[in-house]
Symmetry: D2
Subunit: 378 residues, 4 copies
Amino acid sequence: MKLSFGMVGGGNGAFIGNVHRRGACADELAVLKAGCFTRNPEKNRETAAAWNVSDLSRVYGSYQEMAEAESSREDGIDFVSIVTPTDTHYEIAKCFLNHGIHVVCDKPICINTAQGLELQKIAEEKGLAFGVTYTYASYAVIRQAREMIDRGEIGEIINIIAEYPQDWLIVSTVAKKSDQALWRLDPVRAGGSACCADIGTHLEALISQMTGLKLESVLARFTPYKNSPLEHDIQVLMNYEGNVPGMMWASQIATGSDCGVRIRVYGDKGSLEWRHTRPMELLYAPLNEPVRILTANKEYCYDACTQQCRLPAGHPEGFYEAFANVYRAFCCDLLARKGQTVPDGLRYPTVADGIAGLRFTEACMRSAQDGNVWVVVS
Amino acid sequence: MKLSFGMVGGGNGAFIGNVHRRGACADELAVLKAGCFTRNPEKNRETAAAWNVSDLSRVYGSYQEMAEAESSREDGIDFVSIVTPTDTHYEIAKCFLNHGIHVVCDKPICINTAQGLELQKIAEEKGLAFGVTYTYASYAVIRQAREMIDRGEIGEIINIIAEYPQDWLIVSTVAKKSDQALWRLDPVRAGGSACCADIGTHLEALISQMTGLKLESVLARFTPYKNSPLEHDIQVLMNYEGNVPGMMWASQIATGSDCGVRIRVYGDKGSLEWRHTRPMELLYAPLNEPVRILTANKEYCYDACTQQCRLPAGHPEGFYEAFANVYRAFCCDLLARKGQTVPDGLRYPTVADGIAGLRFTEACMRSAQDGNVWVVVS
Amino acid sequence: MKLSFGMVGGGNGAFIGNVHRRGACADELAVLKAGCFTRNPEKNRETAAAWNVSDLSRVYGSYQEMAEAESSREDGIDFVSIVTPTDTHYEIAKCFLNHGIHVVCDKPICINTAQGLELQKIAEEKGLAFGVTYTYASYAVIRQAREMIDRGEIGEIINIIAEYPQDWLIVSTVAKKSDQALWRLDPVRAGGSACCADIGTHLEALISQMTGLKLESVLARFTPYKNSPLEHDIQVLMNYEGNVPGMMWASQIATGSDCGVRIRVYGDKGSLEWRHTRPMELLYAPLNEPVRILTANKEYCYDACTQQCRLPAGHPEGFYEAFANVYRAFCCDLLARKGQTVPDGLRYPTVADGIAGLRFTEACMRSAQDGNVWVVVS
Amino acid sequence: MKLSFGMVGGGNGAFIGNVHRRGACADELAVLKAGCFTRNPEKNRETAAAWNVSDLSRVYGSYQEMAEAESSREDGIDFVSIVTPTDTHYEIAKCFLNHGIHVVCDKPICINTAQGLELQKIAEEKGLAFGVTYTYASYAVIRQAREMIDRGEIGEIINIIAEYPQDWLIVSTVAKKSDQALWRLDPVRAGGSACCADIGTHLEALISQMTGLKLESVLARFTPYKNSPLEHDIQVLMNYEGNVPGMMWASQIATGSDCGVRIRVYGDKGSLEWRHTRPMELLYAPLNEPVRILTANKEYCYDACTQQCRLPAGHPEGFYEAFANVYRAFCCDLLARKGQTVPDGLRYPTVADGIAGLRFTEACMRSAQDGNVWVVVS
């Protein structure tokens, strides 16, 4: 039995909508059955046709209508994917939750922690799943890393260094181009933060999923690009539970960088390193031994890694598959709730991770505003 | 309007069947409507259900039955994907061609050149498209390379160095494991060649698609692994038109290698290099200038590259997308034949490339057998 | 005419003494003529013999005696290299300066800024040269980088990211080995700082020599390893003149790292990156163009780079040659003072850079102690 | 006690003369005492002065005079380094051997095998050492590789792939520049081969030193650049003892390459890879385990590797040190002959390796001339 799902957003050509859709469908666990892809009726229908929505009566003019109608049908959607700009997430997610429909929401899940906690409360009360696409930890070898950390293979963690340089903002600015992503620069729509909310939270989520450690406090410096009202470069000192220091740099103005996520976790018996530019590789340096290059889906990988792979070792998987891994874990959760047998041990980021991301951003904003002081991440 | 397609093979869990299916569906140009996925009826139906074949009456017990039935339907499939072992390709492809159905066939397209020429003849007579999944040239940056070569950016080509090391054969042998791929080691089913027919032809196809050059003669050495009746390592000297020397090494026993395709094309004004382990990058060394790392989907890329990309620069695409590019070009060809407007300049390997691969293999086999002498690739 | 020089320290087998000696002699500008290599008389003589000191009467039992005697000789040494532990630098350097002898001193030049300023004052009053072996900026391609920055090729600098991970401290601790370098862990001998004074200052010096920018303030976090009284990991936010943010991480406990110096300088028109693990390469990313890999001693390099090279491009030079470049520039300075014609534009770190290093360390120590607050680097 | 040595050649500014000199002196085992650096008397004296030859009466106008005089002195040189163009090696080496002086000669040691055998005969009769600077195997990690192979860590060797791409010939040709190295293109002076004799032999020597295997036969293709009378690109199939296949590519016209030596040795239990562009690293891929990056001078290295290192791990050594390793082993051999205790197990290429190089070149030349047929390397 397959799940059915709907989508809100995705109809205006932003690439991320299609990434969600392909991710949800990749493993044939779910079928797109409904949608409100855009407020433009024609584009809405076109998108539905392109994406094989078989019953056009399930293409809706508003998300409210969609939630209403789908929750009333016997064969209504099991879950909705929300891929609209950040400032609309809260209302849309709340609406579907209130209609008893599970939710996958792009990150950040909303504008502030208060909203996030409310969404969490509703999801809990209703017993609904709430997935968030903090995707990087779903690359197969990050699961390998987590398993190795859990087994003590790098000993006690003593340091975490993470970075995420991009240059799209400076490219766009110089090129004076219109850019789909420019809503991210609108202080209101973006929730008061550009770089931190957009990519800083990706790093924070990656760290916590990869290590299992909880963030306790931050000291952040925000730097705008020229006269921008928002920050486009963040440098953050972090404290994780157990007095583990961490350092993060994220930037939208790092000329020459695309999606250069890189994370290094140092333990007293070894270290692990992952780079998004070589996504299938994990570097493992046991103390006093040669560095080892682990690659995904080799026999020596743990199941937690292997079960995230779809192709034989040596065949590169990428961003689509990382996304698909989030959706697979989410769908398996829903299928398990329906009593089906599904693979064990799959994880996906939940509303709790979404809230952690908001708390991180808010703490960083406060730290930056107060002159780079330590702020507890409550 | 979307195309509909069927599949022969793919139902026994070999990964490549699903890669074909995902490739064909990736850009929403085609929908899987029919299939004969395996001779096991139960698995056949299960596969159809898993892969969203909506009408189970279009799941067939034999490919002959499928060709017959589909060619009789008004809404019959536009094309069939053939993903069975090599020795069955010829009969299956011939059957569908004779029923007027376009074909995509995995490589090698059949066992020998004579069969290949016959398939080509039928396709031509019937006016049918025949695609072959020599996939590596469909990575986006290989198209960038071809465009650069065509524009003279590396000058006159003076040398070509290509390699494809794998180690699965030695791994499987040592591990004494059953392995799906073991039919490739059966001299009969594999057409008398293991390494050359399986991966050597991939290199040959990559070279000719990347450079546009035609192979004229080869001198090949074949090395078996221990007592194998087939070769698992090939070293080939090549002559391309215009007296361009080339050298190729392919191996199934290169311990520690996965799918290490690497190609370097040297011109008198510059050189180009591509490695499958970093699939989104193309190295370009203009004479006497710094080496440049071109990455897919950047503004500086030519359209021929950019139109092969689905994600913003920096988001890794991989093997699935390379496959999807073959299918996209094939589907666009069919759509154009139906009068639809489609992107310009998309290319896919055809039956002619399939025949070139067979000729290459046969010439190498003869050279190896005759003591490593030059053999014309007729 | 060649310079003659002497050495204080180097006789107890520490590798750095020999690196200084080889550096000083590499380009045949100077000859070792005198020394006080160790307080052990036998080892002192053995070292002198091994290092070709031709006149054993110029092997001294104390540096004071050496300064006295050499300054009295007509053919006395032109300069002295001081390669002893940090806490002895001040007295030794002062002694030689007061005897009118030029000085090259290992870094840090002394224990605190007050001492440094005094050394600077004496050197200035006496008109003596004072070189410091902050070596990393003497790799050839760093000079290329500086020239590119000075010519505006990366535009206005907007960000600086630097790191220097090592793991020797954790290796030594775990292995419970005696280690020559352990004086660096003695709070008194090391001047109150381990990681910051030892390698953090290397990064600071590299940044200022590579960019030409002056450091204005720091916010530092110091982390000890387990119960050590000193810090072995530093994370520093920096402000350079013109509001340029910088970030630095240096560590002696980064398991799996050797001398992983890496610096990235971002401008609004391009960026530059250098890694000590690939010392002959400079990565240059012009905005919106492919990343370029510049290598040392190619025709496209600026003279400032090329004159730091000794071998044709493609022949790796390394740490010895970087050191030799410091000494070559220093010797050329002395030769120019003597009226000889020498290459133009050679630079070496001076006592001013040594003082900058001390100020950096002191500001970081204060910031760390005061709870990670901004401290002006006066 | 130190050895004393002289040099023939090196006075006309060719970089390799100074590399020999620095190599010979690097470890303070030998001192330059005599020379005939060039036939130009003034330059001869200048070179001697620059290189610290203390007694100018030992600067000679001809190598014959030098051999005569030095062999007559009580304190005459122990060995001579010959760094002149290839076609002069034979006469010079013979002269010094006949005067009872040990020899280090640049490669190729002479023009043909007959000459080489004669030199070998004289050296043996006189009981003299004869070193040849096939340098690449003296990089520290190549010794690590050899030790691992000897211990069976990669099992039985089943394949060898080697390459050495350069582009200096094409760069020089295009730039129409005078170039010191152009004697290498004169068929007479270069001994009838350009690429094969110059760099092909480097690969052959590297393979045999790294693996311990003996070459039995070759099949070679030679390609000239445009109208050159000599070959500038060679592609060679090789057979090593025990039916081990090998493949080699060397080129002087590989646009964009400097000294890109790369060697991969495949065994049935693992493989090893080394690249000159990352000279301190050895890649080791044990069958079915992650690839390991071994770096020089780490605790896990074998003594055979560690004793080739001068700096702590992480401090890059390069081409000078590889050369110095050849000289160190050679000097230790001489010192051992004088009864001094020296490190055990140091190896250097001898006249036998020089002859192997000549035989390799001659066999390749014959194979190329006869239409790419197998030729036994006698």
